[in-house]
Amino acid sequence: MTAATLTAPLAPARRLGVAAGLRHTFTLAWRSLVQIKHNPMELLDLSIQPVMFVLLFTYVFGTAIAGSSGEYLTFMLPGIMVQNALFATMTTGFGLNNDLTKGVFDRLRALPIARWAPLAGRIIADTVKQAWSIALLLGVGAILGFRVGNGLLGVVAAFALLLAFTLAASWISVLVGVLVSEPEKVQIFGFMVIFPLTFTSNIFVPTDRMPGWLQNWVEVNPVTVVADALRGLLVSGPVAGPVLQTLLWGAGIAVIFAPLAVRGLKRRV
C-alpha cells in the first residue's frame, strides 16, 4: 500500500525559518476561508446579517430618529460598520475554541509547523472576512444613497482604521475563546457584551437624545469614539481627534489582551 511506503529517511530539519512560518500561516488562513464554503451559517453572519441590519434600521427607525431615512443612513452607516465589525471579531474566538475543543488544534500542534501559525492564520482569515463585510456595508450603503464626503482617500482611511481596530479588538475574542469551555459560550459572551456596548454608544441615536446619566457613558464608550472617527473620515466632522483616540483605544486593548490571550492559550494546550 502506497500510504505507508517510506521514503529514505532524511535527517529532520533543526529549525523553522520565518518564511516557512508565513507559508504555514497562509495555508491555515486558506483553511479558515474554505470553511465558509461548507458552512452556510457563516455566510449568513458575514453577509446577510449586516445588510439586513442596515435595511431595517434605515427604513424602520430612520424617519423617527433623523427625520428621513436618507439622513439617518448617513448618520448610522459608519456606526453599524463598527457594530458589525465587533460582532464579527467573535468569529475568531469561536473558531479558535472550536479547534481547541474538537482537537484540531492538537493535530496542528503535532505537525512541524511554526507555533504561532495556527493563531496567526485564523486572525488573517478573519481579517479578510472583516474586509468583506466592511466593503459589503459600504456597497449596500452606496446603493441606498450613502454619499461619502472625503473621496476615495477617506474611504480607504476609514477601511484601514476599522480593520486596525478590529484586529486589536479580536484579542478580546481570542482570550474569551481560550477561556470558555465550548464555542457557543463565545457567542453568548458576544451577545451579552457587544449588544449593550454598541447600543449604548452614539451609533444609532445621537447622544443628546439619551437620558443624562447615559450620556456620560456614551461619550467615553470606545464604540462612540470609533464611530465618530469613521463619520469624520467617510462623511464630515472632526477627524484628527477621534482617529487618534481610536488608535489609542486599539493599542490599549491590544497591549492588555494580546499577552493575556497568548498566555491563556499556552496554559490551555
Partner: protein
C-alpha cells in the same frame, strides 16, 4: 537494540492528580507497542508527552533519538498522531483535510493533491473525498484521521484508542491497516482499553494503572498471568446460582465469582468447559447462557492489581482529569 521511543521516569501532574507517576518505556523500532489500561490510567497523557503536545514535569523521553522537549521540531517531523483529541477539521472535506496537512508539511500544491488522492484511495475514501468530514460514519472518520496522520509518511505513529466506539468490521479494517504499516517498517505506539486489540496488534504490552506501568510483556505472557479465559454460566433459575458456582469452582479449581445472576470463573484448561456442561446436565440445571471468552481487560486488572478497572464517567476529559 534500536529504540524508536524511549521514556524514563515520566511524571506529569494536573493539580492534585498525578496522571503519570514515573513511566518508563522502550519501544524497539519497527514494532507495535501496546499501552493497555482503563480510562484515566494515563495512556493519553503519555502519548501527548511523547507527541510533543505536553511537557512532563519530570523525566525525559526521546522519539527517533530526538528529545521530545529540546528537539520537539525534529520529533514532529518523524511522528504521526491519531487520537480522539487530535482531530481533522469536520467542516472541511476529506480531500481538503489531507491537502491542508500536505501543504503544511511543505508539499507543493500538486504533490499535496496527489498525496491526498493516494491516501483517500488507500483508505477507501475516494468516493467520500469531496464530502465534509462531519458527514462521515464513525469508521470512515477514523480512517480519515489515520490517513491524516500518514500524509508525512511518519516513522513513528501514535494511535490513541484508534477503535474505541467502532463496530467490529471497521475495527478489523483498521487493524489490517495498522498491520500493513508495520510491515512497511513503521513503529506504532498503540493505546487501548481492549486486551483483544493489544493482543491482535502488539508485540509487547505495558499495562498502565494510575499513571504507572504495572506489568509488561508479550500478550502471551500477560494472558498466562491472568488465567487465559473466562467461563460464564447463567442459570435459567437464579436459585441454582450457588450450585452452579460450586460446580464451576470444583471443575476449574479456581474461585468463581457470582454477579448479576451469572457465575464467572477463570479457566486455563480446555477440558473445563465440557466437564462443566456434563456436571450441569447431571444436576439437571437449565442454563440461559454459557460462554467461554478470552480474558478481558477487567480480568487482567483484577489479577494484576486485585481491583477491577474503574470506569471513568462517559465524556471524561482524559488528559485533564484522570480518574
Amino acid at each position: 537494540m534500536d529504540y524508536a521511543i524511549r521514556a524514563e521516569g515520566l511524571v506529569r501532574r494536573f493539580g492534585a492528580t498525578t496522571a503519570l507517576d514515573g513511566v518508563d518505556l522502550a519501544v524497539p523500532t519497527g514494532t507495535v507497542f501496546g499501552l493497555l489500561g482503563p480510562n484515566g490510567a494515563g495512556k493519553t497523557t503519555a502519548v501527548r508527552v511523547l507527541a510533543t503536545l505536553l511537557r512532563a514535569d519530570e523525566g525525559h523521553a526521546t522519539v527517533g533519538g530526538y528529545d521530545v522537549v529540546r528537539d520537539a521540531h525534529q520529533v514532529r517531523q518523524l511522528i504521526g498522531l491519531t487520537g480522539q483529541y487530535a482531530s481533522v477539521d469536520e467542516t472541511l472535506t476529506g480531500a481538503e483535510n489531507l491537502l491542508l496537512i500536505g501543504r503544511l508539511l511543505g508539499l507543493s500544491r500538486a504533490d499535496a493533491k496527489r498525496r491526498a488522492r493516494e491516501l483517500l484511495a488507500d483508505f477507501q475514501l475516494s468516493d467520500a473525498g469531496d464530502r465534509a468530514a462531519k458527514t462521515y460514519s464513525g469508521g470512515m472518520r477514523r480512517r480519515l484521521d489515520l490517513a491524516a496522520s500518514l500524509v508525512g509518511r511518519p516513522q513513528v505513529l501514535f494511535l490513541d484508542e484508534p477503535t474505541t466506539g467502532l463496530d467490529p468490521r471497521s475495527r478489523n479494517e483498521l487493524w489490517d491497516i495498522v498491520r500493513t504499516l508495520v510491515a512497511d517498517g513503521v513503529t506504532v505506539l498503540l493505546t487501548t482499553q481492549y486486551l483483544e486489540e493489544a493482543d491482535q496488534l502488539a508485540g509487547e504490552i505495558a499495562v498502565v494503572d494510575h499513571g504507572r506501568v504495572i506489568a509488561q510483556g508479550t500478550p502471551e505472557e500477560l494472558k498466562a498471568k491472568t488465567g487465559g479465559q473466562t467461563l460464564t454460566v447463567r442459570p435459567a433459575d437464579a436459585s441454582d446460582l450457588a450450585t452452579v458456582a460450586s460446580i464451576a469452582g470444583e471443575v476449574s479449581g479456581a474461585t468463581p465469582e457470582v454477579a448479576q445472576s451469572a457465575v464467572t470463573v477463570a479457566v486455563n484448561d480446555p477440558g473445563v468447559l465440557p466437564a462443566v456442561v456434563r456436571r450441569l446436565e447431571a444436576a439437571e440445571i437449565t442454563v440461559a447462557e454459557l460462554a467461554l471468552r478470552g480474558a478481558s481487560l477487567d480480568e487482567v486488572f483484577l489479577s494484576l492489581t486485585g481491583h477491577r478497572a474503574e470506569d471513568a464517567p462517559a465524556g471524561n476529559d482524559l488528559e485533564r482529569t484522570p480518574a
